[in-house]
């Protein structure tokens, strides 16, 4: 039937490669979001957008400060006297001291801060030993924190040396630091001698690490 002639109009069609190409462009447009593609795409809220790590030091300080104040000003204060094993020890190390460290802008300030924190860790060791509460686990925890402070300290000292042309200033800080670390070594050595200390090897390791830091400079 001649009307079937009309069906010959169906002979006009795209080639397979043309169809693939067009399909590819369509999927790309969908993927690029040009076709309202992702109905489940999450849209950042204009009201709340917070990513701690993308913000600078000041913002981190501000946020942590607010956090500490909001959560419990008294809690933060109470945590200052806490020791490893206490409930608030984590708050002391990870919140209170963290905030304090974030306020130290220069390398010199950070060196002093890390040195003070090492002193605090050694004092914690003393108190735990005196009260018979020092365990292997707590020793390891303090060892880990001291090592971290020493690493930070070494890094900042290197940075100071690289940038500072004031030799006098740099060596003055270094001398003070040496004295501080020497005092810490003596204190740790005394603690280590105590019979009640459960993990003398860990304390020896800390001593070695302090000496390594002093010799490295």
């Amino acid at each position: 039937m001649k009307i079937d002639e009309l069906k010959k109009l169906k002979n006009i069609r795209l080639s397979d490669s043309e169809k693939k190409e067009i399909f590819g462009r369509i999927m790309k447009a969908i993927g690029d979001g040009k076709a309202g593609a992702q109905s489940t795409r999450s849209v950042p809220s204009p009201f709340f957008r917070f990513s701690f790590f993308s913000y600078g030091r000041f913002a981190k300080v501000a946020v942590l400060s607010v956090l500490v104040l909001f959560v419990a000003g008294t809690t933060a204060f109470a945590s200052l006297k806490s020791l490893p094993g206490d409930l608030l020890y984590g708050v002391k190390i990870n919140v209170v001291e963290k905030i304090q460290s974030l306020t130290k802008v220069s390398s010199e300030e950070r060196v002093k801060d890390n040195s003070e924190r090492i002193e605090k860790r050694v004092n914690e060791l003393k108190k735990l030993t005196e009260t018979g509460r020092l365990t292997k686990e707590k020793t390891k925890k303090i060892q880990k924190n001291i090592n971290k402070n020493l690493d930070n300290l070494d890094q900042d000292i290197r940075h100071i040396k690289e940038k500072s042309k004031k030799v006098q200033g740099a060596s003055g800080l270094q001398k003070k630091l040496d004295v501080d670390l020497e005092n810490r070594s003596v204190e740790i050595e005394n603690i280590r001698k105590n019979e009640k200390v459960p993990d003398k090897e860990a304390l020896q390791s800390v001593l070695n690490r302090i000496n390594h830091s002093r010799e490295g400079r």
């Binding site: 039937m1 001649k2 009307i3 002639e5 009309l6 069906k7 010959k8 109009l9 169906k10 002979n11 006009i12 069609r13 795209l14 043309e18 169809k19 067009i22 399909f23 462009r25 369509i26 447009a29 969908i30 993927g31 040009k34 076709a35 309202g36 593609a37 992702q38 109905s39 489940t40």
Partner: protein, 171 residues
């Protein structure tokens, strides 16, 4: 992307891309332009898929394509008046007539020349309905949705178009 939705989309594309392309090409008479409109058609179809469950995918695709062709010719002012056919009296608007342009020979196979002549011999108002029914094999219901008229009107146009063809073909 929802894999189920993606699969539906891919299937709809594979089954209908040629038909949509032809439908557009026979109107705009330019392959590149037709391809652009086809792409837009499927992108809008995707949007529709995301929003709602679609009862007739094929019908929706042609409907979208037709609307895009209308948008295109509204922007293009150089089309000769003769290429326009009065839309249905119910629609009350002009639309770009099918087969009104001069398709390059390469795009019209010679054996389809008769078919083209047949279509051109039809009253423009019947052309689209006859084409969609006998070339793309859509149902009267689908055609009604595409043209925005009732199924009855579609049936009337198809029957009158066939009558004209038979008259022309002396059958």
């Amino acid at each position: 992307m929802d894999p189920h939705l993606e699969k539906s989309f891919e299937k709809a594309y594979a089954e209908n891309v040629d038909g949509v392309f032809r439908f557009v090409l026979y109107r705009v008479s330019d392959k590149e332009q037709a391809v652009d409109i086809v792409e837009d058609t499927f992108l809008r179809f995707w949007q529709a898929l995301l929003r709602e469950k679609i009862s007739s995918e094929r019908g929706l695709l042609y409907q979208i394509a037709r609307n895009l062709v209308k948008d295109w010719y509204k922007k293009k002012k150089s089309i000769p008046l003769g290429n326009f056919a009065e839309g249905s009296r119910e629609e009350g608007e002009l639309y770009l007539d099918m087969f009104a342009g001069n398709l390059p020979k390469a795009e019209m196979m010679s054996e389809a020349g008769l078919a083209k002549e047949l279509m051109e011999s039809l009253d423009p108002i019947y052309r689209e309905a006859v084409y969609l029914r006998f070339v793309e094999e859509l149902t009267p219901t689908e055609i009604a949705k595409i043209l925005g008229v009732t199924s009855n009107i579609v049936s009337v146009r198809i029957n009158r178009g066939l009558a004209m063809l038979r008259d022309k073909l002396h059958i």
